[in-house]
Each structure stands twice: as C-alpha cells, then as structure tokens.
C-alpha cells in the first residue's frame, strides 16, 4: 500500500507537469481563420509535399499581413478524406489544400472548393499548359485550384544493362515488348518493368497516352468510358506481357520492388517526372547508371504522353479569407522565386511552363550523367493527352486495384480484358447509385 501511494503521487505529479506543458502549446499556435483588424490574416494549408513549409517561409517573410501555416498530411488520399469529413461536419477544414487533379471533381461535387475565377488566381491561365488548366476548371468558367506540379510519364531505364545487351532504347510499344523479352531471356531474374495492380494512377497514365478519357461530362450528365478501345488495347498489351512472363506482375512501391531497383532486377520503370526522387531514395547504389527517354509510343508519328500524379493548390469553401488564400496560391505556383524554391526544396516538376524552364537548368543529382534530362521531360510535358476525371475516381481506382490484382495473379491476358469491363460496370453503377445523371 505504501508503494501504491507513492506511485499514485508520482503519477499525478507527472500528469500535472504534462498538463502544464501540453496545454500551454495550443495557445502559441495560430488559430485557423481568425483575423481581427490590424493582426495578420492567418491561413492554414494542408499539404504533403516534402519540405513545402520551407517554401512557405519565404512567403511569410515577405508578406507579414498574410501568414500561412503548413499542416503536413499523410499523402493525397487521407487529406481529401479528412477534408470531406470536415466539410460535412461544417467546421475544421483548412483554408488551403494540396489537391491532386483527379480529386478535384470529387471535391467540387461535395462543394468543398471555392471558385477562384474572380480572384488573383483567375489571371494565371496563360502560365499553364491547356490540358492542366482544363483539369482545374473542369472545362467550365469556374476555377477550382491553381496548378502546382504535373507528372508527365517518361521511361527510366538502366543504360548500362541496355548497352551490355546491345539494346537500343524502345521508341514504340512493340520495341518495348521485344526489349523486355531480350532482357528476361538473357537473365530470367531481370524484368524491364512490372504491371502494378496497386497503382491505378499509373494505369490511368498508360490509358491516357493511348487516347482514353475515362469520364465525360455533357451538361449535367456524366458518362463513363473506361471499357473502350484505348483502355482495352493497353490492358491487352500488358496482359500479354504478363502472361508470357517477360514482365513482372508484382506491385510497385513494395519492399521487394524497392530492392529490385537497387539490385538491378528491375531494369526499367515507366514513371513520371518526379521519378528521380523515388529512385535516389530506393536505389542509391545505382546512381549514374540510369537514363531517361520518352514513353514508348503506339504511333511513333503522333507522340503522346500520359500524366501520373501532380497536384494543385485549392481554397476550401470554409475559408474566411478566400482572397488572401488565392493570392498566396497564385504566388506559390507562378512566382519565379517560389517555383525555384519548390523545385529545389520539394523536388516537384512545376506545372508553370515558363517557370519550369527557367528553374530546371541542371539535371537532378541522380541523373547527373544525363545533362538533357529536363529537355526530355519538357518534351513529354508538351505532348500530354487530354483526360477528364469524374466525381467517383476513388471508386474506379479501388475497382482497378481489386480487379487487376486478380488478373495479375492469374497471369491470363483474357482476365485483363475482363478487369477493364468490370471497372466500367462498378464505376457506372456507383455513379448512378450516388444520384448523378449518367448517360
């Protein structure tokens, strides 16, 4: 009993100490949205790009009247889920949010994003490629976000292994298939790539290049166009490669795949402009052995590119300072100094075409062997095909994960085609069920 008393007393003292330190902290951190006269406008910004707060610090130093606080998020999906919950609850949303392009229709249909067309951000149209601008306006008059970065897809490959085998870089998908076979035949543990049933964004980019646009909007009615010729062509192509075994069927971003990049089992990677960050993190020991080339083409005379990832800066409908938030979003994504800082601190590929050109002069350290790295990327960015996202991208993407996981496991080309039509059915049914008019 004596011991118990002492333990209790000690615990209470500790608790009191913790309470004292803990409860004094929130008072120091700025409250969201509250701005009186004379005090600076306080904005909160939910974002997940690494080191973004360092770029925001530049803004805060230059603009004492508008203070932005970054709240780091766990990536795009959790941030959007949280935002939608806060919008439904009526409070708790930030002023600004980093929103991936494919999330914008979902957020707009939940009435989560403020229209910025009448603010400072309205005049930024000419800074961005037309396809990117389309995805933040949804083809209408309203403006829902300022584009930040894009992810034009390119082909990363191990130049040393290609050279040893006497292979040239594939420029068409037929050549890609042939190269995949040569590499796998020479060393059965090596693959030129993998079909990732975990990365719907990757498959979207492949389909986008082939000319697919999975959703369409006509007045108030949506259409779902997944089960069409372009996507079927892409699914059949990858299904054939997986069935013959020359391409791996394991998802990307797994520990096994990370190791594969590092040990040379994964000889190539179809990925976006942000790829060097992943490669330098996962495959440190292979620095200087990789090169970048444009995506292999379906029709070499009409080069096209898909887009994987990329995001924008949006202002939420719960913000009390839309004007100030739009001013900040415009600066962050179009001011040369901000873009330069975004490139060096966060490693993104800027959506602002002129900004990208002036900020990206030297290749990333991982690709120091290829001085024209960003020329390749810029050319790819200029040929990105149009693509429309719908309000239930999350449903289509999780249908992709479920259906293509089965197909990748069975390794049958026919199952890949089936997965595409299942995606179409699931996505259309969900759109109807949630009350949208579907053509």
């Amino acid at each position: 009993m004596r011991y118990s008393f002492r333990a209790g007393a000690a615990a209470i003292i500790t608790a009191a100490a913790l309470l004292a330190t803990g409860c004094s902290t929130p008072a120091n951190s700025p409250e969201a949205g509250g701005s009186g006269s004379g005090t600076p406008v306080e904005l909160t910004y939910w974002a997940w790009a690494p080191n973004l707060e360092k770029v925001v610090d530049i803004w805060n130093q230059k603009n004492p009247d508008i203070h932005v606080t970054v709240n780091k998020q766990d990536g795009g999906d959790p941030a959007v889920t949280k935002l939608l919950t806060a919008i439904k609850a009526g409070s708790g949303a930030p002023d600004l949010i980093q929103a991936e392009y494919q999330k914008i229709p979902t957020l707009v249909s939940a009435d989560a994003l403020a229209d910025l067309s009448g603010t400072a951000a309205g005049g930024t149209k000419d800074s961005f490629p037309a396809g990117v601008w389309d995805s933040v306006t949804l083809g209408g008059d309203a403006l829902y976000a300022v584009p930040q970065d894009t992810g034009p897809v390119v082909f990363y490959y191990r130049a040393d292994i290609f050279e040893n085998l006497g292979l040239s870089v594939p420029t068409t998908w037929d050549e890609y298939a042939a190269a995949a076979k040569t590499i796998h035949d020479a060393d059965p543990s090596q693959f030129l790539g993998t079909f990732s049933s975990n990365d719907a964004g990757w498959f979207t980019a492949m389909s986008q290049q082939a000319g697919a646009s999975w959703w369409g909007v006509d007045g108030d009615a949506w259409s779902v166009n997944i089960d069409k010729e372009p996507t079927q062509k892409v699914a059949n192509y990858w299904g054939g490669l997986v069935e013959s075994g020359v391409i791996d069927n394991q998802p990307m971003y797994t520990p096994a795949w990370n190791t594969g990049l590092n040990t040379g089992k994964q000889v190539g990677w179809l990925s976006a402009a942000w790829g060097p960050g992943v490669l330098s993190g996962n495959a440190e020991s292979t620095a200087g052995k990789w090169k970048v080339a444009p995506m292999p083409q379906w029709d070499a005379s009409k080069p096209a590119t898909g887009n994987w990832g990329g995001s924008s800066t949006a202002v939420t409908t719960q913000s009390k300072n839309v004007e100030a938030a739009a001013k900040f979003a415009t600066w962050l994504n179009t001011d040369p100094e901000a873009i330069k800082a975004l490139v060096t601190e966060t490693g993104i590929y800027p959506a602002d075409s002129a900004g990208a050109k002036s900020a990206l002069t030297a290749p990333p350290a991982f690709f120091s062997n290829q001085p024209d790295f960003y020329d390749v990327i810029a050319k790819a960015a200029a040929t990105v095909s149009n693509f429309t996202y719908g309000p239930n991208v999350n449903v289509a993407f999780s249908a992709y994960n479920d259906e293509f996981a089965k197909a990748a496991q069975s390794k049958k080309q026919s199952d890949f085609a089936k997965a595409v039509s299942n995606m179409q059915t699931i996505t259309t049914d969900d759109l109807k069920k949630t009350g949208f008019t579907v053509k």
């Binding site: 118990s4 333990a7 209790g8 409860c23 440190e284 020991s285």
Partner: protein, 284 residues
C-alpha cells in the same frame, strides 16, 4: 497457496517450459526484428539477412531527430501527454463511477450498468467518426482536447473499477466513516481510492497502453502534425505520397524508440501489479 507449495517440490516440466519458451520467442521475435532492422541503413534494409544487425542505429536516430527540426520528439511528448493525462483522468473517472455503481443504490442503476456493458462491446474505432462530428460542432477538432476528451470515458475501465470497488472496499468501513460525519466525496478520495489503488494501477496501465497504441481517433481528429501522437506521425512518414520514397529507416528507428517508454513503464509498475494480484487472491 497449495499450487505454490506443490510446484517447489516438482521438477519443472519440460513440455510446459518448452511451450512457455516458444510463447516468449513468439512475443519477442517482432521486437528482435525491429531492433535489427532499425540498425540498418536504407541500402541494407531489404538486402541483408533479416535478423542480422548492422551499425547504423545511431545514424538513424540522428536522422530521425533532425527530421523537420525534431518533430519526432514532439510526437513522443504528445503521445506521453495523451497517454499519461488521458489514462490518469480516465482512471479517476472509472474509479468514481465504479465505486458509485458498486456501493450506492439509486433508481436506474441496473439500466446504467447494462448500457455500460453494451459499451464494453462497442469497439472504440467505430465511434471515432461520430465523435469527430460532435467535436466539430463545438469547434474542438484539431486540438489536444479532441484526442483527450473521448478517451476519458472507458466503459471497460468503469466495469473493472466496479468489480474492484465491490471486492476491495468493505461496506462497514464506509458506514463507519459516515457515522463519523465524513462527506461522500471525502470517503471516496481518502478511503475508497487508497483501498482500490492496486486495481486502479491495472486500469491505468490498461488505459495508458490503449491510448499509446491508439491510431484511428487521432488520425481522424488531427490535421496539424504538431499535435500528432507517435502512431499517426510514423504512419505519415510511410505515406509520403507516390512522389517521395517511404522513409523506412526513420520509421523503424522511431518504432524502436516508441516502445522503450512502454517497456520502462511495465518494468517500473510491475511490482504494484504483483501486489494487486496477491491482494486480490487474499480477498477473493
């Protein structure tokens, strides 16, 4: 008592010792794995033998400490706050409610107790969203309170406290105190709580571990990473988005550091726990 005297004479059974050793191995294996993995750098992590330790533990801890100006340690402090303060408050509320349910008669008592038992059966995870919506109405989401308040009421803790109060606090003592003119709250604080303390240590530990490991509630409630507990913070390091690689080495070092306080707590409070078991055996 009889089992204790018997076992001193018997030789230890090979079979049961073997089963216990297997059990211990089963429980310790993940910890050994974390220790080994936390000592590797990123190039060794997925390539060298799983359980072979390396020499980079200190480097990983330094990297983790430097991550965004020591944010990891802030998460540790937050977790200590949520778990420490949350468990103390929850234990006190549980003790008070359990004592009242055990020692007082009032209309609707059995109804309250039945609702409580039903509460034990409802997993805390499914309450996180309703709690978010309620706290959003009073503007408390994304604050320390949003994680602390929902964890103060623990139906299971109240249920345990009721059983302890019924067993550990004799009615005669309460009657005697009342006869002496003591107020009810005074009786509870000065007489009942000391008698229940061994049981309350159990409730405290139980709640502390539950809050320490809680993920869903802070994950939903908090948007500001300065308020994150360790669980949500480390999860964030693994999900940097597709454009940045997951920080496996930092997460492993963080996981290793985050279990140390729990191990210390158990080792330090172990003897009170033993007192509790012995006391329970005598009284029952």
């Amino acid at each position: 008592m009889s089992t204790a005297t018997m076992s001193t004479k018997e030789k230890p059974s090979v079979v049961s010792t073997g089963i216990l050793l297997l059990g211990a191995l089963y429980c310790l294996f993940p910890i050994i794995w974390v220790v080994a993995a936390a000592s590797k750098d990123s190039s060794q992590l997925f390539s060298t033998f799983t359980l072979a330790p390396s020499t980079h533990l200190w480097d990983n801890i330094v990297d983790l400490t430097q991550y965004r100006d020591g944010l990891f340690w802030r998460w540790m402090m937050n977790t200590a706050l949520y778990a420490g303060v949350g468990a103390i408050l929850s234990t006190w509320v549980s003790a008070l409610s359990g004592y009242v349910l055990a020692k007082f008669d009032f209309p609707g008592k059995s109804g309250v107790f039945k609702v409580l038992l039903m509460g034990v059966l409802v997993p805390g995870v499914i309450l996180a969203i309703p709690q978010y919506l309620m706290l959003a109405q009073v503007g408390l989401t994304n604050t320390y309170w949003s994680v602390l308040l929902p964890q103060i009421i623990s139906p299971y803790g109240i249920y345990l406290a009721r059983i302890y109060a019924a067993a550990a606090v004799p009615n005669d003592v309460i009657e005697a105190a009342r006869t002496e003119g003591a107020k009810e709250l005074y009786i509870f604080n000065r007489i009942a709580v000391p008698m229940m303390l061994p049981g309350l240590v159990t409730i405290f530990l139980f709640q502390f571990v539950a809050v320490w490991n809680n993920f869903m509630l802070p994950y939903i409630m908090l948007g500001n990473d300065q308020l994150f507990p360790i669980t949500v913070g480390l999860n964030g390091l693994l999900n940097q988005g597709a454009t940045a690689p997951a920080m496996y080495t930092l997460v492993l070092a963080g996981a290793l550091l985050s279990i140390i306080p729990l191990i210390l707590l158990f080792l330090l409070l172990q003897r009170y726990w033993r007192v509790d078991l012995a006391a329970g055996a005598v009284k029952a």
